[in-house]
Every structure is written in structure tokens, then in C-alpha cells.
Subunit: 249 residues, 2 copies
């Protein structure tokens, strides 16, 4: 069994209001790797946010006292902290210079994913897409209409995690693929039933795709080809743990 | 840029004391994908633990009162819980039927990684390797001696995480590759300095490899080919966050 991970280069600078899907299809075609049936198209959050106009000029943001005081204490930009708080429904940790929140989507991430990297000019930041699962579903449908190919789409961002240094790329939105590969109830090679073995395949695919993306090389899209999955209506939203079962609030 | 992830099939059942590296080299050769210079060899923990004799018969384990009472409450095997406690240096959470510990290695994982799946017979469980970085270094050196090829080696296991359902495959040991790809101090395409962007590439490679492994198909080894990395002496141990900076103890 073999899987290929193909980086897609050559996208132009994405501007608010641009149609992202044709840009991706054209770039993939131009480098000789057009999208095929059952491919998994992995797209970084930043280009999706740009196309969807989720860019904010910091100059127009007035920080609250909370944002201003905390940012001052840790040398952060108070306007970015203000935006992070506005994008949140709960602050999980606000300590050691780290603002970890639960976003309106239910994601646990630093600064609510508000980020200034890979945006031209200065003083502009990007918010996460308002509904990344919906963004993925839209791209999937646009690919189908333009090419006839059924693909899966995963939108990704790189986040930290407890206990380990380093970010990992994970899925924030998906369409056309089950988010979990569930081994529960099946048996291993030796006939033992597997109890706790649902694998978060969309997160693993996001991580795999990051290996060809790189943060400084302008490769915001990857194609994962050869992974056998059953098309389904999986959403990243359904991966989020029920707060009742969350031991790390 | 393209990366290939190749599953390696055809390993025999690994018994305690067997030399694992020749079995891997032979299986890769037999399926027509012999190891090459700069490949990354990804090996699941279970076959490493088996080769290193880290198997325990539950019949010989006497649970403590703590293990017995807690296991009874949640319908767990008290002998497995006892082993998990013995493999731990700290209990992080012991709630809702979940035993999350910090292992002697410093890993945060459920049941200290003690697990009964993919082991022939019944009543036998595997512990994690005693020093997975050392296991990876040894396999790397054995590959070099047998083939002349310099490869990187990553040993993996599938663990849960806070906030999201589903396990992800991550690195528990590595050799020959830097564990972090550090973008800090570099600039993005637009000249902004990247501040918080060290990527845990060994974890991402582990996740990528899981996509060809599968829990029920007897594919305990994968080759990741085409990923440009700088050979270095990275150890997973160096990824573990300093407890002083850990907000989730």
C-alpha cells in the first residue's frame, strides 16, 4: 500500500472575494498533478480565511481593558488579544503569556487562531473561517462541479498541544470523509476485540500534508492520493469532545 | 514536492529476543521497496516491545488495593491497571474510567501505554519500550551496518488527546532526524518574522505513517520517502515540555 502526498505550488496571492477553488484546480493542473477521483485535497486555513475575507486591520481594533492589561504584561499586541477574546466563548488558560481559549466553533487553540503570519503588508491579521466544515463542503462541491471528480476536502491549521513542544497540523474543517476510522468492535490479527481504537484520520491526514507544505515556501495546498477511505459526511465539528467528558477544562 | 508513504507487509510474528531490524529489511526487500538513503523508517511500538521482550503475563500480576478498587469500579482488568501504575511516575487523571499517567519516560498517556491488542494468545500485554529513543538509535545503526544506508527511525504509538475524540499516531522514540522543524527567527513570504512556529515533524511523520499501517492488517512498519530533512540526533525525549511550563498537570 502506498500513499502519495503532493504539494501544490503556484497559487497567486489570494485576495478577499477571490474564488479559491479554481485557483487550486489551475495550480494543480499547471504542475502536472490535476485532481483525481478520491483524492483528498488539503488546504491551509490561511488561504481559506483570505478568500472568505476574514482579514482584520489591527488599526481599527480598540482593545478592552482586559486585553490591554494582559497584553502589556506579556509584550503581546493588545489588539490581537482583543480579537482573540472576541472570537472566543470561553477562556481556558491565560497564564505564562499563553492565551488558550475555546473558540465559538468549540476549538481549543492559542489566540483563537488569530494570526498575522503569511499575510502581505503589516497590521493585518486573519481570523479562522467562520464555519470551516462548511468551507470544506463548499470547496468539495465546487471541485465536483468543475471537474466531475468526487474528492474529500480537509482544511488545516497548526496548533500546539499539552505536554509536548511543537505544533502539529490538524483538521479544522472537513467534507467527504469520515473524521474517525473506527476499529471498535473489530478484532485484531489475533482475534482480540479492539476497544479504544478510533483513529482521527482527518487529523493524521492534515499532519501528513504539512510535511510538503512548509511555512515559508508558499505551498498552501496538498493532494493526498492513494488513501483508501469511504466517502462520508464527516465534519470536524463531530470530533470535538463533549465538555462533560473533557478532563482538561 | 512529493512524499511517498509505503507500508511494509510480510513481517513474521515477532517473538521476544528476535532481531527486528533484519526482519524489517527483508520484508521491505521482498515487496520491492528496499530501504534507501534518507528514508524515514517508521516502526510501531508493539513490534519493538515484542522484540525487546516487554511482554507480561497478566496471570503473574498481583494488583494493589488501589488498582483493584478502581478497576472494579470501571470494569477494567485490575492487573492491567496495576501494570500501568507500575510504569508511571505520576497519576495525572484517574476519572471517568480513564487512567492518564505520566510514565517513567515522561510521556502523558492512557494506562501508561500498557496494551493487549495485537499480541497472540490471551492474558499477555505489552509495555512500552524502556527507552524508545535508544531503541530507534539501535535500529538506525543496525540498518546502516546491514545496508550502508543512513536512515532516520521513528517509533510510534497511537494516543488520545484532550478536547478531541480519536487517537493520533505520534512519535515515542526517534533517531537521525530533528524532532522539531524550527521556523522561529525565519521570515514568511512577506518578510514577517515567524514567532511561534516550531513544527513537531516527528509526530507529523508518525501520523502520516499510520495511514498505511492500519490496526488490523499487520502492517507494523512504514517507509516515508522524499521528505527533505537534515540528519541530526533528535530525540523524542527533547520534545517533552518542561513541567514548569505545563499548564495541564
Amino acid at each position: 500500500m502506498e500513499i502519495r502526498i503532493i504539494g501544490v505550488r503556484g497559487l497567486p496571492e489570494v485576495q478577499p472575494g477571490m474564488d479559491l477553488t479554481p485557483l487550486i484546480l489551475r495550480a494543480a493542473q499547471a504542475q502536472g498533478t490535476p485532481l483525481q477521483e478520491n483524492d483528498i485535497l488539503v488546504v491551509t486555513q490561511k488561504v481559506v480565511s483570505k478568500a472568505e475575507g476574514r482579514l482584520i486591520e489591527l488599526a481599527g481594533v480598540t482593545p478592552s481593558h482586559l486585553a490591554a492589561e494582559w497584553a502589556l504584561q506579556y509584550g503581546r499586541d493588545p489588539r490581537l488579544i482583543e480579537l482573540a477574546l472576541r472570537e472566543s466563548k470561553r477562556v481556558s488558560r491565560m497564564d505564562q503569556g499563553v492565551l488558550l481559549v475555546e473558540t465559538h466553533h468549540g476549538f481549543h487553540c492559542i489566540n483563537a487562531g488569530v494570526d498575522a503570519s503569511n499575510i502581505p503588508g503589516s497590521g493585518v491579521v486573519a481570523l479562522l473561517p467562520a464555519d470551516p466544515d462548511a468551507s470544506a463542503a463548499r470547496i468539495r462541491e465546487e471541485v465536483r462541479q468543475a471537474t466531475g471528480a468526487q474528492v474529500a476536502v480537509i482544511i488545516t491549521d497548526s496548533w500546539g498541544r499539552p505536554w509536548r513542544e511543537g505544533l502539529m497540523n490538524i483538521a479544522i474543517g472537513s467534507a467527504g470523509i469520515g473524521v474517525l476510522k473506527d476499529y471498535r468492535g473489530t478484532t485484531d490479527t489475533y482475534g482480540h476485540e479492539l476497544h479504544a481504537s478510533a483513529i482521527a484520520v482527518v487529523d493524521e491526514i492534515a499532519s501528513a500534508a504539512e510535511l510538503v507544505m512548509g511555512k515559508v515556501d508558499m505551498v498552501p495546498v496538498a493532494i493526498v492520493r492513494g488513501y483508501a477511505y469511504t466517502p462520508s459526511n464527516g465534519r470536524v465539528r463531530d470530533l470535538l469532545r463533549d465538555p462533560q467528558r473533557d478532563m482538561f477544562r
